[in-house]
Amino acid sequence: MWLWNKIKQLAISFRAGVVTLRYPFEPRPAPEGFRGQPVWDHTKCIGCAGCASHCPARTIFLRDICQEVRILLYDSSRCTYCGRCADLCPEKAITMSDKFELATDNRQDITQSLELFMMTCQRCGRCYDLEIKNYIDRLSSLGYRYDSLEARKVIRRSTADFSPEELEKTVTYERPGRLEK
């Protein structure tokens, strides 16, 4: 009986053969729908902070460094890859990529940061997203400021931060996805 069992076990082991994969010498692609490292598409992000306020690991940070620029920082070192951010993003700016080989000795390799250009609502003073259709608003992204509250509806004036290079870069700015149709 004992010997018979051992023969059976041998048969199982031989039939299975070598199952160890040649990874990492041969690549092993992740299956479809894998929840790997999240990737932000800065052209789609509107800076709504939905991902930051719902991240269970609290690993997405948003800071307004000045009235116009909002920084989104994703610190991957504590990410649990649950994909909640990608689910909640209203603009589908976050995709869970198939990248999983994330071991590194430099934290910066896995950190993503986005500089988002935000508009300021002249009524409540809070940030909102750049709207392509509103040309008066687009002026403020180029460095124009209201020069007086009474005249704010029409008159704008160039300020010290005005840069012709920035104008060059942003004048053709188009938000993908919105203009496709």
């Binding site: 076990q9 082991s13 894998f34 269970p56």
Partner: protein, 563 residues
């Protein structure tokens, strides 16, 4: 008259003015409020009527002027009824009657609240520290509201946990805190006379990281499932489903049918891989590595299947409050069927090859024996209890999700030893496959393209209680949720299956050989992390400090206060 009504009527009569109220929130749940003088009388009455003790839950309700709350939950498995007895003690006199002399399984729960909330228990037979580390200063109770979740007080000096003296004629063999046969930190101090184990003392909770505190202070309702999933590396879905069920019960939310079946598929896949994992570990612990290799090879197919279904091998991330996140469509369902067929075939071959092998019989038969009476006395659960002839299974006794719509058997053994556990677990693999196949049949018939999750219609009212059971691979897990304000639970208590099972390990070890220690402890499949409820607590400052080697050495060798 149902069991619940009968109990309420009896308690009203027996306790008179000490009975405050009873509330049946959903079928199968009964929440009773008592005055604290009546607690032990009521608990004794429930035990005499055949209840099984589950867990104690303590919480700080001083903000609402109620003092400290203490909830003890009991299960009536024959009647599908869970009873929670709640009492309050004033904040300046938090003393309760100890239930431990009556119910030994309540010992840990009470010691836990002694540590975490500063409650006092009259006549507790062993009122020593359980959860907090030895150098945690006296008088700081982390679960109290005023203590911040990231408090790091200076360590107390000159303190050490006093283990018991070894009984005369025996010597101590320490297992742990880190030991090759234990996969997680735990300390067993085993008393031996020659080769025979004459007793054992356990000191654990070394991986306690305060996940419940975190949920009460930092997270929101829908964050917790993802954190709960990381309580355990094996039965993650069990905890997230269980938490979601408890909140849904408290909020009165009914989730879509399709989501219930998808949750069941996730739970049963988890059971499959957990049983195969345990089989491998058990084989490894008794030195039978063929079992280890082959069981884990079969398991790998299930892990890959889970990766394709959910996006990750282990932490499925399928559950949110109100439903699930991913669907199982026709293609995936065929994928599951194909893998399960393969697993079943391989498992049958493996079972035939090993179950009659003398090696296994000699190492497991009669080892870790515990009689049925002892098993009932210690409130054992899961395969450990079923191997001792205790016929309990939360899936059948307290059906959740859609378990009342599928047919399955609950395998039992009566040998009362490790062998029985092994047989039960192997048989449960086939039952799990059966359940998944039935779920897939039902899923195919359900209408498609329906929403997989329902939204809450408003904030969840505070002060509602929810109690939920899920049969984890190791036994039932209990989650208790008391809803609170600010979109987060006021109290969330997790009781993992290892919590009661580990308390009975000293009895299982008695009069066994020292060489059998690893397999006896391994037979309950101890999940120390579950029991300690683990999570890294880190303030979301965005700053992290890397420690140099010198600093690490200082941390580990020097005292923190001397830094």
């Amino acid at each position: 008259m149902s069991r619940g009504e009968e109990l309420v009527r009896w308690l009203e009569k027996e306790l008179g003015g000490n009975f405050i109220s009873a509330e049946a929130t959903i079928p199968g749940r009964l929440f009773i409020d008592l005055k604290r003088e009546a607690l032990s009388a009521a608990a004794a009455g429930l035990m005499n009527r055949g209840a099984r003790y589950q867990v104690g839950v303590g919480y700080d309700a001083r903000k609402s002027g109620q003092g400290f709350g203490l909830v003890h939950t009991f299960a009536f498995d024959k009647d599908s009824l869970l009873v929670a007895l709640r009492t309050f003690a004033p904040g300046d006199d938090p003393e309760f009657d100890s239930l431990t002399p009556l119910i030994p399984g309540a010992g840990w729960s009470e010691r836990e609240y002694q540590d975490l909330l500063g409650l006092k228990f009259r006549d507790h037979p062993n009122p020593r520290r359980l959860v907090l580390s030895d150098d945690w200063p006296e008088g700081i109770y982390p679960l109290r509201r005023e203590v911040p979740h990231d408090l790091m007080p200076p360590a107390a000096e000159e303190v050490a946990f006093r283990l018991d003296e070894a009984p005369p004629g025996t010597s101590i063999v320490p297992f742990g805190p880190f030991h090759a046969s234990l996969h997680e930190p735990a300390h067993f101090s085993v008393y031996v006379d020659g080769e025979d184990i004459k007793g054992c003392e356990y000191r654990g909770f070394m991986t306690h990281r305060g996940i419940e505190k975190l949920a009460q202070t930092e997270l929101t309702y829908n964050d917790v499932p993802f954190v709960a999933e990381r309580i355990c590396g094996i039965c993650g879905s069990v905890h997230s489903v269980n938490y979601a069920q408890a909140v849904e019960a408290a909020a009165g939310l009914r989730i879509p049918r399709r989501a219930e079946f998808i949750r069941m598929v996730a739970l049963e896949l988890e059971r499959l891989h957990s049983h195969l994992l345990w089989l491998g570990v058990a084989g490894h612990l008794i030195g039978f590595d063929t079992v280890f290799m082959q069981a884990w090879r079969i398991r790998e197919k299930i892990m890959w299947l889970a990766e394709r279904l959910t996006g990750n091998r282990k932490t499925y991330g399928m559950v949110i409050i109100g439903g699930v996140r991913r669907d199982i469509n026709q293609d995936r369902s065929e994928d599951i069927r194909a893998v399960l067929k393969e697993v079943e075939r391989e498992m049958l071959a493996l079972e035939k090859a090993i179950l009659k092998d003398r090696t296994i019989h000699r190492r497991t038969r009669g080892v870790g024996y515990l009689s049925r009476e002892e098993a009932v006395k210690w409130n054992l659960i899961g395969p450990v209890a079923r191997a001792r002839g205790v016929d309990i299974d939360a899936r059948r006794d307290h059906p959740y999700a859609a378990y009342d719509e599928v047919q399955f058997e609950v395998p039992l053994a009566d040998s009362g030893d490790v062998w029985g556990t092994l047989v039960v677990r192997v048989k449960e693999v086939y039952e799990a496959i059966k359940i998944i196949n039935q779920c897939l049949d039902k899923l195919e018939k359900l209408p498609k393209n329906q929403p997989l999750a329902v939204d809450l219609e408003g904030p969840i009212p505070s002060g509602r209680q929810g109690l939920s059971l899920v049969e984890a691979p190791r036994g039932e897990a209990v989650h208790y949720v008391l809803t609170g304000e600010d979109n987060r639970p006021e109290r969330w208590r997790v009781r993992a299956p290892t919590y009661p099972n580990l308390q009975a390990v000293p009895s299982m070890l008695l009069n066994n050989k020292l060489a059998d220690f690893p397999i006896i402890v391994g037979s309950i499949d101890p999940c120390i992390s579950c029991t300690d409820r683990v999570l890294v607590v880190e303030r979301s400052s965005g700053k992290a400090k890397l420690l140099s080697r010198q600093e690490l050495e200082n941390l580990s060798r020097g005292k923190r206060s001397k830094k």
